[in-house]
Symmetry: C2
Subunit: 453 residues, 2 copies
């Protein structure tokens, strides 16, 4: 490279996709938007930059280290590190204008200066949905959320996943019964790790924070309660009547379990799991995690839960909510690495017109008609050899090529070639349009994820 040139590099930890990969990424994003839209969530967009005092109103030490924070003039600015804090600010700021329950989704980039490593991103998309109540929010909303998770993943083509559900009130209530109220946060944190560290280390860590042998065993036994959801609930009811919080948690979980079925989530896609704690999060009731059954090592691909108060750092209003988040960039990365992204149509156009005459008017007229029929159309204008033109169609995966020569023009026809099969037809324009439309209809049924292939 000429030493006057700047190396055109992209920052480490910043995903920048090639065009055909970007098309796939966008297909996933489109499914998310469609599903969130079907459930009546508003789309929302908040700034990427905020005043540091706003974004860091709550944040703990870990977040502070990872953030992109800087001064511009006298203003202390931070790039958002999640979509929840901006939402809290937004709802507090616009409280009087919003209609509650306020349902919004936001798909946007967030920034965390984490140590660079494979599969970890410093700029990444989160896709969040939240339902915010004013003062209160019916627990049934917690049953709708798994339905949204299910619809999202099944429409992407993924079926072999499990939404794990728990309720922190049950865990907290149980710890209360064991007189471990003051250790709740620590125990939650350790429970959260059990899948990673194993039972032995789990017991050791509980011992290290001063939990007695008897309590440790009870906790382990409790979070390992297995069975159908109904069996687990029946089991939990044996502990009922000793602690109000615990009983409340069971009631909530039972209600959610009843309605999830009505929300058409198949039995095999959700499961009560008492070991789900979302240790470091701010949840106060229902919690969710979602795992690929074949790849639990990836961790949760969609997590969330119920919180008592969204915006306490900005307002005295009591704003309970429930929400979930998908780490979209990481999800895409993981699926791609595992080769689970289907070989879907990733071409920029449905049709490439190759004019075979010097005058381009006929080709241009045809392109307008195709586009008016919602057919994505390119015209190859460059003065190259025929094989280069064909190569352009092949390399961009454009399926149909329309050749327009003197014969086609005089007969008012088109020659259309299916680049996949090699078949070639001399068609009226209407026939060609119908062929492409039919193909597009087929393509619209493609799913982007194919984990079972």
């Amino acid at each position: 490279m000429n030493n006057n040139k700047v190396n055109p590099s992209t920052l480490s930890g910043f995903m920048e996709l090639l065009p055909q990969e970007q098309v796939k990424f966008n297909k996933i994003e489109t499914v998310l938007k469609e599903v969130y839209g079907l459930y009546g969530f508003y789309p929302l967009d908040t700034p990427i930059l905020e005043k540091s005092e706003v974004l860091l109103a709550k944040a703990g030490g870990e977040t502070e280290k990872q953030i992109y924070r800087f001064l511009k003039g006298d203003t202390d600015l931070t790039m958002r590190f999640d979509l929840t804090v901006p939402l809290a600010k937004y709802v507090a700021k616009n409280y009087n204008e919003l209609v509650f329950p306020f349902k919004r989704y936001q798909i946007g980039k967030v920034y965390r200066g984490e140590r660079a490593q494979k599969g970890r991103f410093r700029e990444f998309y989160q896709a969040d949905i939240d339902i915010i109540g004013d003062g209160e929010l019916n627990i049934i909303n917690d049953a709708e959320i798994p339905s949204i998770i299910y619809q999202t993943f099944s429409r992407l083509g993924l079926n072999d996943f499990t939404i794990r559900i728990n309720n922190r009130k049950i865990l907290s209530g149980f710890f209360n019964m064991l007189n471990l109220k003051d250790k709740t946060v620590d125990v939650m944190r350790i429970i959260d790790k059990i899948e990673k560290i194993g039972e032995e280390n789990f017991m050791t860590e509980l011992q290290e924070i001063g939990i007695s042998n008897e309590s440790r065993s009870k906790i382990l036994e409790f979070i390992k309660i297995k069975g159908t959801n109904e069996e687990v609930i029946a089991n939990l009811k044996k502990f009922a009547g000793n602690n109000e919080l615990f009983d409340q948690g069971i009631n909530e979980l039972e209600l959610i379990n009843k309605y999830i079925a009505d929300f058409q989530v198949p039995k095999e896609n959700y499961k009560i799991d008492l070991s789900i704690a979302r240790g470091l999060d701010y949840y106060t009731g229902t919690v969710y995690e979602t795992i690929f059954n074949k790849h639990p090592e990836i961790g949760s691909i969609c997590s969330g839960g119920r919180y008592d108060n969204l915006a306490e750092f900005y307002t005295d209003k009591n704003l309970p909510g429930v929400g979930i988040s998908i780490g979209l960039t990481r999800l895409f990365y993981v699926l791609n690495e595992m080769d689970y992204i289907s070989n879907v149509n990733n071409s920029p156009a449905d049709v490439l017109i190759i004019p075979m005459t010097e005058d381009l008017s006929y080709a241009i007229n045809i392109s307008s008609t195709l586009r008016n029929n919602k057919i994505k159309t390119q015209i190859y204008f460059e003065d190259k050899k025929f094989k280069n033109k064909i190569s352009y169609a092949n390399r961009t995966n454009i399926k149909y090529v329309l050749f327009l020569g003197e014969d086609e023009i005089s007969e008012k026809k088109v020659t259309i070639k299916n680049m996949e099969t090699g078949e070639q037809f001399n068609f009226s324009l209407d026939e060609a349009i119908n062929m492409v439309k039919k193909n597009n209809e087929e393509l619209s049924k493609e799913t982007i994820i194919n984990i079972d292939k």
Copy 2:
């Protein structure tokens, strides 16, 4: 406000819309994406943060002052201030993977720390399309661009606009004929201002840079050449044969003028205007500006042009291109301020289900069926008074409310109320679905801009 609370403010110059405004904004964005997609452009997404040395490889002093630049550890970072420089980096970096001509669109946020004032944004969306050739790019591409501009604005509902077209080779060639080659940049810059400063100041500024009276008059006369596009071209041809660059410019402009009509751009929506210079930009041939006929004072709402070499700061490859950019955030702001955004459907859902029984299973089942029919559906779950539930539908502009009481459940029917007309029907679910679908079909014909109302 409690003094423990942080004021939930948004930075000055950062647009943050209320939900119903956001819906409108997104409708504009959707139209842009659809049109760009129909022309076969890849969607692209590049990082918002880049190494400063990459983004500032070219930038001049003005840009440097306005940028958001900071250190994170040892890394000198800058937030992108346009989408062109990241594109140049992208194409240089991925040259071997890309297929040329490379057509991409990108709609994304860019950052400029401009002085805060009404209607000026520091974070704003740009919507860019570019066609990049490898070594060369046929001039016909320059005729396709106005067609994309036309489709974009007319689909938004705007018809009363003019795409002004010029070719810098004509201006440069003309200055060469006047022996003003060394003053080309300055004269371009002054021409660019003529609409703002008026003819008198224009002449004064030309004098100040040392242009003779005779030349000043010739320049003014030249850029004021008026008439139909064909008349202007005929007029230009009178100057032909004296300068190669000038003649090349005329040929290009004539060719573009010929094909624009084939691209179905109505005569009244484009006009050759020799006073368009895009003074500070890097264009080398065709240039475009687009104005609202009734509001030229807004300035150009879509500008662009042809450039010889996209990525010279990163690569020795010769990458000519042509592109345009819409300042989407400013466009939305201006339209909104002028009350030109139509009263389009801005509700988050098509249907609000209000369950009138304690058990919610029927309501939830109905919601699933509606969503499976692509009907955006919310269920009102909150335990509020009836009037609050109705008020929720009214305030969110949800047009149809489904009441589901004991009668509806036992008869397997729904009561559907049109909140706009007050009409209420006892329907089968299928009948209700058809009613909503028919309404959605009507709504899909709505245009977002109504400048003529």
